[in-house]
Symmetry: C2
Subunit: 225 residues, 2 copies
C-alpha cells in the first residue's frame, strides 16, 4: 500500500516531464516551427524572435523529454521532432486551448480582420474544389517547409516572393492561402496583399500539422511529401 504510492508518484512524475515541455510559450512556438520540418538552432531562434542561447536551452528541455532528435549537418545542428505524435499532441493542446479559453478565442478573432477571411474545416469541399482547379491552394511558407510536407494540390509561393510572383496566380480563381497554423500570421499578410491587388483571397486557419493530426484524413495520401 505504501509502496504503491511511491510507484504512482514515479509514474505521474514521468508523464509530467512531457507536460512540462508544453508549459512554456517559447517551447510551444519552437514545437510549432519544428512541425514544419527540421530546422537549425539559428533559424529557430530567428523565427521565434529569441536569442540563440535561450533557444538552445529550450531545445535542451525538448531533447531531455525525448521529443526531438538532433543531427549535425555541416556547421549546423538540425533539430527535428522525434515522432509524429509530438505534432499531433501540439495540435490537440492548442485546439483544446481554443475551445476552452475565451481569451484565446478573442485574440484569434482579432487576427482575422473580416470574419469571412477565415475558413475553418470544410476540408472535403476544399479538396474537391482544389482538385477541379476551381480554387488555388497557396502555401506561403518558406520553400523548404513546403518541400517537407504540404497540403494536397497546394502551390508554393513564399510570402517574401509573393509580390514579385503575383503574375503566376490567376485572377479569376479563389485563392486559399495557408501557412504554419492558426498562430502564424504569414497567410494573413498574404491575403491582405492579394486583396489589395484585386484577388479574391481567403485565409485557411489550419496548417499541415492540423490536417495531419485531425479529421478523417490521417494517411499520407492527403499530405503530399
Amino acid at each position: 500500500m505504501k509502496g504503491s504510492r511511491q510507484i504512482k508518484d514515479l509514474l505521474y512524475e514521468q508523464v509530467a516531464r512531457i507536460g512540462k515541455v508544453f508549459s512554456s510559450p517559447k517551447r510551444l512556438e519552437l514545437i510549432e516551427l519544428l512541425c514544419q520540418g527540421e530546422k537549425t538552432v539559428e533559424s529557430l531562434a530567428r523565427e521565434a524572435s529569441i536569442s540563440v542561447k535561450l533557444t538552445s536551452a529550450h531545445l535542451r528541455e525538448l531533447r531531455g523529454a525525448r521529443l526531438v532528435e538532433t543531427e549535425r549537418q555541416g556547421k549546423n545542428i538540425c533539430y527535428r521532432l522525434a515522432d509524429k505524435a509530438v505534432a499531433d499532441l501540439w495540435v490537440q493542446v492548442h485546439m483544446l486551448a481554443e475551445e476552452r479559453l475565451i481569451e484565446l478565442q478573442m485574440a484569434v478573432q482579432k487576427i482575422a480582420a473580416q470574419p469571412d477571411d477565415l475558413i475553418a474545416n470544410d476540408r472535403d469541399s476544399l479538396l474537391k474544389a482544389a482538385r477541379k482547379g476551381e480554387v488555388v491552394v497557396l502555401d506561403v511558407r518558406p520553400a523548404e517547409e513546403y518541400l517537407t510536407a504540404h497540403l494536397p494540390f497546394a502551390r508554393s509561393i513564399p510570402l517574401g516572393e509573393l509580390r514579385q510572383r503575383l503574375a503566376e496566380l490567376p485572377k479569376d480563381r479563389f485563392i486559399v492561402a495557408y501557412c504554419r497554423g492558426p498562430y502564424c500570421l504569414m497567410a494573413n499578410d498574404a491575403v491582405e496583399l492579394l486583396k489589395r491587388e484585386g484577388y479574391a483571397a481567403i485565409h485557411l486557419r489550419d496548417g499541415v500539422a492540423e490536417w495531419g493530426a485531425t479529421g478523417v484524413i490521417r494517411d499520407n495520401k492527403t499530405i503530399a511529401r
Copy 2:
C-alpha cells in the same frame, strides 16, 4: 512586424496555460481521477494521497484553465471535467510519454510481474469474446465510477468487495480485470487475488478514458453509460 510578435506572444501564452496544468504530477493524477467521473475535493484528496488544501489549490489551477467545472452538492463541492477533450488529452499525453520515455516504460513493466499479465490493445477480439461470454470483463473500480461509465459487457465488483464476492465469478472462464488506467494498481491487486484463488485472470492496461479517446471506437455505443 513588431506588433505581430506581441500578438504571437499572447497566443502562445494562452496555450501554455493548458500545458501548465499538465506539468504537475499531482494535477495529472487528479485529472485521471476526474476522468472516472465527478468527485468531491475530499475524495480526490484521499485517492491522490495529498492534503485537502493542496488538492484545492491544484483544482483551482484546473479551474483557472477552464478544464473543470464545479457544482455544489449539499455540503460538498463536486468537480468534473469540463469537456471530454480534457480526458482525451490526458490519454494522449500519457501515451506519448510511454512511447518516448524509457524510464516510464521500465516503471510500467515493473508493475506487471508477469509480462503476460497485461494485454494491450486487442480490443476487437476482447469485445467478441466478451459478447459470447467466453471471458468475464471485470470492473474493479468503486461502484460510482462504474455507474458513470464502463466498458461494454463489464461487470462491477469493487476491489474492496472482491474477496467476499468471489462466488459471483465463474471459475471456468477467463477473467479480464481493469481499473482506472495504466497507472492505477487496483486491477493489479485484483488479478493477484484472483490467481491465488485459482482463477485464470489477466489485467487490462487501459481504462474507460483510454477506450474513449483512441481506437476505432469513439461513440457511446462501446462505452455504456
